[in-house]
C-alpha cells in the first residue's frame, strides 16, 4: 500500500482512501484531501517532518503521522 508520507519531493499521487477517524479525518477531508484529489509532495521540513503538499491548488502542511493515513493509487 502506497501512502502519502512515502512520496518523494516533486512526486504526486491520487488519493484512494483516507483512513483514520474523528476530528483528524474530518479536518483533512474538509481541507480537500479527498478521494480522487491529486496531492503533490513539495518538500519536507528541515528535520524531515512535517511535509509540505499541494492539494486543490494550495499549499498544505501536515505531519508524516497524518500523511500515513492517506492511501494513494498504485
Amino acid at each position: 500500500m502506497r501512502t502519502l508520507d512515502k512520496l518523494k519531493p516533486g512526486e504526486s499521487g491520487i488519493v484512494v482512501t483516507l483512513h483514520g477517524e474523528g476530528a483528524v479525518q474530518q479536518r483533512l477531508l474538509e481541507m480537500g484531501v479527498i478521494e480522487g484529489a491529486e496531492v503533490k509532495m513539495v518538500r519536507r521540513a528541515p528535520m524531515g517532518d512535517p511535509l509540505e503538499l499541494v492539494v486543490q491548488g494550495y499549499h498544505l502542511s501536515i505531519r508524516k503521522a497524518e500523511a500515513s493515513l492517506v492511501e494513494l493509487q498504485g
Binding site: 518538500r43 486543490q56 499549499h59 498544505l60 502542511s61 503521522a65
Partner: protein
Amino acid sequence: MGATFAVVGNPNVGKTTLFNALTGLSQMTGNYPGVTVERISGRMHLANCSANLIDLPGTYSLAARSPDEMIVTDVLLGHVEGEKPIDAVLAVVDATNLERNLYLVSQLQDLEKPVVVALNMMDIARKRGFTIDVERLSHELGAPVVPICAHKRVGIDELKKVLLEAANRGESARRNGPEYPAVFHAAVDGLAGDLSALHAQIGRTVPRAEAFRVLVDQGGYAEQRLLGRLNGDLSRPLAQRRQEAVTTGSPASVEVRSRYAWIRNVVSSSVQKPAVPVVTFSDRLDRVLTHKIFGIAIFALLMMVVFQAIYTWAAPFMDIIDQGFSALGGAVGSRMPEGILRSLVVDGMIAGVGSVLVFVPQILILTLFIALLEDCGYMARAAFLMDRILSRVGLSGQSFIPLLSSFACAIPGIMATRTIANRRDRFTTMLVAPLMSCAARLPVYTIMIAAFIPARTIMGGTLGLQGITLFCMYALGMVVAIPMALLLKRTLLRGETPPFILELPSYKWPQAQTVLRRVFVQGWEFLRRAGTVIFAITIVVWALAYFPHSSELTATFDTQRAQVERTLPEGPRRAAALAELDGEEAGAHLRNSYFGRMGQVIEPVVTPLGWDWRIGMSVIASFPAREIIVATMGTVFNIGSDVDEKSDTLKGALQGAERAGGGVLFSIPVALSIMVFFALCCQCGATLVMLRRETRTWRWPAFTFAYMTVLAYAAAFVTYQATSWLGWGT
C-alpha cells in the same frame, strides 16, 4: 439601524482587508461574552443606506472545534447573547483557490440566509492564468458573485450595492447545492424532528443546518452545546441517527464527498486553469525560506533581530517613560504635604502605574513584528520549520510564536495562543509560557549580576562571566519548560496527539491598516487589563508596607534630624546625614509594617535558600509584579525607595549589607539563588489574571502559580546549597 451582515471566509483570503475597505475607520472592537475572541464590527455606507458588518474569525468549515470557530457558528446561528441575528452573509473567497473556499460557502448556503460571494484576489488569479466566468459561477452557486481586489479597492462599490440589494430581497430559494444520499438526508430530517420534539427542554427551535452539524461533527461543538442543555438524553437517538445516515464511512466523509462533488461541477463549468500551474513568486521565495539550511539560518536571524529590537529600540522609550514618571512623582510629591496621602499617590499610584507603562514600548514592538510576520504569511512557515522540535515536547509548531512572545511578556504570549485549535496544546503552551524569561525579570538579573558576579572573562578572554550568567538565566526557563510541557501532556492534559494541519498561504505585502490596528488593539488591551490589575495590587502592597505607620517612630527620627541640624553646619555633610536618616526611617517603618512582620515570620522558610528576612520580604512583596523587588530592596536596605537597577547606591548597599549575626549577607550563591528563584517563579498578578480570562477558571492560574513557586523554591534551594558546597565566591 439597517441590516446586519456577517463577513465570513477562510483564513488568508484578505477578509480583514475587505472589511477595512467596506467600513473605513468606523470600526468598533470588543469581546464576545465569556470568551476572549475579539469582536470587530463596523458600519458600511452607500448613498443614503447603511448597514452593520461583523468581521468573524477566519475558518475553513462550520464544523467548529476551536474557540474562534465556535464564535463563527454562534454568530451565524444567532446564539450569541445580546447580539442581533444577522440578516445576510458576505462570504469572502480567494479566486486562486476556489475549491477549498467554496467548501465553506456551500455550508453557509445551508443557513437559510442570503449569501453574497466576494471573489477576492482577482488580479492574482488572472496573473496565474485563470479565466473565471463570473456570471456562470454565480448561476451555478445560486448566489450573487462580485469580483473584487480588496487591497486595490477595486469592485468595492459594486459589492456594497449587491449586498444591500441582497438584504432587501431577503432569502432567495436555493436552486443548486450538494446532493446527499437519500439515507443521509432522511437521518438529518429525522434528527431535526427528534430535536423539535425536545423543543421545551432546549428552550428554542433548532434549525436544520444546526441539526446537520450535530449529526456530522461527532464530539464537536454543536453536539456538546446541545448535550449541555439536555442532560445527556440525546446520546442514544444521536448514535441511532448517525448509524442510519451512512452505509459506509462516517457522516463527515459523506458530507465532504457530497460538497466537493458539487464544487467540482461548479468550478469545472466556470473556471479555466492553465494546464501547467505557474511557478509563483511565493513558490520561489519558499524554496529559500523553508530550505534545510538557508531557511533555518534566516529564521534564526529574524528571531535575533526581533529580540534585539525588543531590547534596543524599546530602551530609549522606556527611559523616557521611566524618567517621566519619576519626574511626575517628584513634582506631585513636592506639592503635597508629607503623610499618608502623598505616600499613596507617589509611592503607590504613580510608581505602580509607571512600573507597568514602562513595558508598553516592548509590547508594541513585539506586536508589530508578530503582526507583520503574520500578515505577510511568514508565521505559517515558522510553525512549519519549528514543528519537529516542538512536537518532541508534545507541542506543535503553532506554540512557537506564543512562547517567543513570552520572552518580552507572558501576557501577549498567552493572548497569541488563541490561534491554537487544540485545547490541550493551547493550555500546555499557556501554562509553560510564564517560564520564559520576560522583560520584567531583566532588572533583577541586571542588579544581581552587576553587584555580585565578578566582571571576569574566561576561556582566554572570549566569554564574560556576567554575560554567561545572564544567558544561563534565559536558558533556564526554556530548559525547565521542556520536561514541564512533557509532564503536562502526559498527566493533566493527556490525550491523543492533535493533528497538525496548517495552510501555507501565499506570501503578500502586509497591509498597514491591518498591522497597525492589531498593534493598537493589543497595546490597549495590555494597558487596560494588566494596568488595572497591577495598579490595584501595588496599592495593596503599598498599604501593607505602610501601615501601621508608627508616629512614635517618626517622632524619634524627627528628634534625630533636629539634632543633626543643630550640630552640623549647613552644607553637604548635613545634607548627607539627613538623607541617611531619611533612609533609615523608611527602613525602620518597613520593618515595623505588616509586611516587615510577615517577613520575620517567614524567615525560617527562606533561610535554606541563603536569604534573610529582608530578602524574603522583598521577594514576597514582588509577587504581584516581579520588577517591584528593585524598589523594595532599595527601601529595605535603608537607602530610600528612589533607586533603580542602574543605581550605584543600591549596588553598594547590597554589597555592604550584613547578616543579623554579622558577616556579609550577599554572596555569589545567594545572588544566584535569588536569580534562579525569579527565573522560575510566577511573580506576576497580571499573568495569572490573563490565564483566568483565557481558561475561564481559577483552577489553571492557581495550578500555574503553585507549580512555578514549588519549582522556583526547589531550584533556588539546590542552587544555593550546591554552589555553597562548591565554595563559589569565597
